[in-house]
């Protein structure tokens, strides 16, 4: 895999998210082969949970869950302190043109960010790295 030929798209900006549902901007996969989601989790209070899942859409308006890709991060796993979790995930079962990340925060605040990493069909669609050494 050539990591210099990958597109990186912001999902959720790093911040402290209160209880609620948060959607990332959508990513048009027409020019991409596949996509992975990365969660960077910061401080999660002991009772907090954050559920991340990918959704897909044909029209960039009505989104539905992609079966089998949801995951739940619980505050107890994050230690309730400065510990943190991360994960990578892959979706090759995407059948529609657009995807986005749905984050559901329950019980208490969670600090996190998310990103979408995708492989462009055409290298001209990649994100030009800030540096490449």
């Amino acid at each position: 895999m050539d990591l210099s030929n990958i597109a990186v798209t912001k999902g959720h900006a790093p911040a402290s998210y209160n209880i609620g549902v948060y959607y990332s901007a959508s990513l048009d996969l027409a020019q991409h082969l596949s996509v992975a989601m990365v969660l960077n989790c910061g401080v999660a209070q002991a009772t907090a949970t954050v559920a991340l899942e990918l959704q897909e859409s044909d029209d960039d308006s009505t989104f539905t869950d992609i079966s089998g890709n949801d995951t739940l991060i619980a505050g107890s796993e994050a230690g309730g302190t400065d510990e943190a979790l991360y994960f990578g995930s892959q979706v090759r079962g995407v059948t529609k043109r657009y995807v986005r990340i749905k984050a559901t925060v329950s019980n208490a605040r969670v600090e996190f960010s998310s990103s979408l990493i995708s492989i462009p069909k055409d290298s001209r669609n990649r994100v030009t790295p800030v540096f490449s050494r």
Binding site: M1, D2, L3, S4, N5, I6, V8, T9, K10, A13, P14, A15, S16, L33, S34, A36, V38, N40, C41, G42, V43, I66, S67, G68, N69, D70, T71, D82, A84, Y86, F87, G88, S89, Q90, V91, R92, G93, E111, F112, S113, S115, I117, I119, V127, P129, V130, F131, S132, R133
Partner: protein, 137 residues
């Protein structure tokens, strides 16, 4: 490139978990990269605020700074993040074949505490170094 390339062929290192960092120098843990070909470094910038800046760079060492002092990797520097370009994801790519055994990331915040997170996606030489995916569908 095959779809399966993510699963079983990538290793993820959380350099800075996503949260608010204080003004000053912040150092990630050292990460051994001897078993990896290449690194994609992703800087997720959140709200920075007026006057705040984030400067991020990569350093290397043969022994994680024990006797070989950490040194900047020429060119492996992110453009400064401030209020004009906050809330974006930035990426940098590093060929590890010419690099020392350990990497770390230095993030310097000025004027204001800011929300930020940094991860590295690494391409291992051996798939046993890959990160197990939370799911793969």
């Amino acid at each position: 490139m095959a779809f399966d390339d993510y699963n079983g062929s990538t290793h993820i290192f959380q350099a800075f978990h996503a949260e608010e960092y204080e003004v000053g120098d912040n150092f990630s843990a050292a990460h051994e990269v001897a078993g990896f070909h290449r690194a994609l470094v992703i800087l997720d910038a959140g709200h920075v605020g007026v006057g705040g800046t984030i400067d991020t760079k990569l350093q290397e060492s043969d022994d994680a700074g024990v006797t070989d002092a950490w040194a900047d990797i020429p060119g492996a520097v992110f453009a400064q993040v401030d209020a004009s370009n906050e809330a974006q994801a930035f990426a940098g790519c590093l060929n590890l074949n010419k690099r020392k055994r350990y990497l770390r990331i230095v993030m310097t915040l000025a004027v204001r505490d800011s929300d930020v997170g940094v991860i590295m996606v690494l391409q291992p030489k051996d798939s046993r170094l890959s990160t197990t995916m939370s799911f793969s569908v």
